[in-house]
């Protein structure tokens, strides 16, 4: 007797679920080997068993149950017709992005222009700050020299032939030399004034060049290499731009030291 023939009496009890564990295991092991005969018969037996459902007394399910089931899966049954692969909101979004890009480009250029102007302004302010800082340092040096107790003051008088106003000089052995004056005419062209320390012996020593400002004011600070103790006088000549190692013109102002 083959396995299939022997197991045939188990088809319906198996489908009904009444087999004890050992019988059920035996049939399931056989089905697991994909026996086509027994598989088909067991499936038919299941169909027969399922028909026992009609033995249950008929009962009408409450209407609320239907509503609950359908509510649990409720959503549109027919998909929305596809009008476009791109939804409307995407077009709106894209248009907004384009506008935003244009605006951003314009705004970027405007900001760049403003930034450039600000940078220029900053450079100007920085230049002004540096000028002011230099002026502050100069005035501080002047103040230090003028206020020092060992500073000597002398007047440089214009040469007899010109009608230049006199200038004043302040000399401090440790701090340096200050020359100041007002209403000083500007030298012609790019020529400049040059200050000289005239020693008792030897050639004059340059103490720097200067030009009056637009208001004719002169404030020249120098720290000459010359030995001021051995100097006889200070003199100012007019020289070509940048000055010269030695005077090339006659002094416009002269003032004796000590």
């Amino acid at each position: 007797m083959s396995d299939c023939a022997r197991l045939a009496e188990l088809y319906e009890p198996y489908a009904l679920g009444v087999l004890d564990a050992d019988e059920r295991s035996e049939l399931e092991a056989h089905l697991a080997r994909s026996c086509p005969t027994c598989t088909a018969e067991v499936e038919r037996a299941r169909w027969v068993v399922a028909q026992l459902t009609y033995l249950a007394p008929e009962a009408k399910p409450p209407a609320a149950l239907r509503a609950n089931v359908l509510k649990a899966v409720a959503r549109p049954s027919v998909p929305e017709p596809r009008q476009s692969w791109v939804p409307a909101w995407a077009w709106v979004g894209a248009a907004m992005l384009v506008l935003l890009a244009v605006f951003s480009l314009w705004e970027t250029r405007r900001i760049k222009r403003e930034l450039h102007a600000l940078e220029t302004q900053l450079r100007t302010v920085e230049g002004q700050r540096q000028v002011l800082e230099r002026d502050r340092q100069r005035y501080q040096e002047v103040l230090d020299i003028l206020s020092a107790s060992n500073t000597k003051e002398l007047e440089l008088k214009p040469a007899a032939a010109n009608r230049l106003p006199p200038v004043r000089a302040y000399w401090n052995p440790g701090l340096g030399l200050v020359v100041s004056g007002g209403q000083i005419p500007t030298p012609a062209g790019d020529r400049t004034f040059q200050l000289w320390v005239v020693p008792k012996k030897g050639n004059p020593i340059s103490a720097g060049v200067f030009r009056p400002d637009a208001g004719g004011q002169v404030l020249h600070i120098a720290k000459p290499d010359a030995d001021m103790a051995a100097a006889a006088a200070l003199a100012i000549t007019e020289e070509p731009a940048g000055g010269r190692p030695q005077p090339t013109t006659k002094p416009l102002w002269v003032g004796p030291l000590g």
Binding site: E12, T39, A40, E43, Y54, L65, V69, V73
Partner: protein
């Protein structure tokens, strides 16, 4: 009169997540499913919960149904019966609830095509007539198995009959039922 879609067509729609298909399947099968579950669970509230669970499982696992493997009706009835028996067993703490998928009890091509069946009412009448014709104890043994989920041994103990007798009653009763429904298959 409009042609009603077949169960297989509705299952295809269910796979496409069309709630209208579930609505039609519910209208088609809710009454026998609810009757079966109420008979097993014996409580309306529990029956409603189980029936809802059955149809939602059908919705969720529609993809596991294959029309080629058999008609939906016995598939759905078996699912409902197992759910209801599990509920009762769990309630009685007799057995851990089985995790069952719709694939567990497929109905292959050996089962009849629903389009070829006599209508449900005639089939139900055949079942009731056949079972009504059986001796009361034989019918009771089958009902204890189907509605109570008892095994051969448990039924024999419950009825005070020899195990072999109970086995014979159930097997012959089901074979008679099979013969009775042959014209319907």
């Amino acid at each position: 009169m409009a042609v009603q879609p077949s169960d297989a067509e509705l299952m295809e729609q269910l796979i496409r997540r069309e709630p209208r298909a579930l609505e039609r399947l519910y209208d088609r099968y809710a009454r026998p499913v609810y009757s079966l579950v109420l008979r097993i669970a014996q409580q309306a509230a529990s029956a409603e919960e189980i029936v809802q669970d059955v149809f939602l499982q059908l919705w969720r696992n529609a993809h596991s149904y294959q029309a080629a493997r058999g008609p939906l009706e016995p598939w759905l009835f078996t699912l409902a019966r197992n759910r209801a028996l599990d509920h009762v067993r769990l309630k009685g703490e007799k057995q851990r609830r089985r995790e069952e998928t719709l694939d567990e009890h497929p109905f292959a091509s050996g089962a009849p095509n629903p389009e070829q069946l006599v209508d449900r009412e005639r089939r139900a009448e055949r079942v009731r007539r056949l079972m009504g014709s059986l001796p009361p104890q034989q019918r009771q043994a089958i009902e204890l198995a189907f509605f109570e989920g008892m095994t051969h041994t448990e039924i024999a103990e419950a009825l005070g009959e020899p195990l072999g007798t109970v086995k014979s009653w159930i097997r012959t009763g089901l074979l008679q039922l099979r013969e009775s429904l042959r014209g319907a298959s």
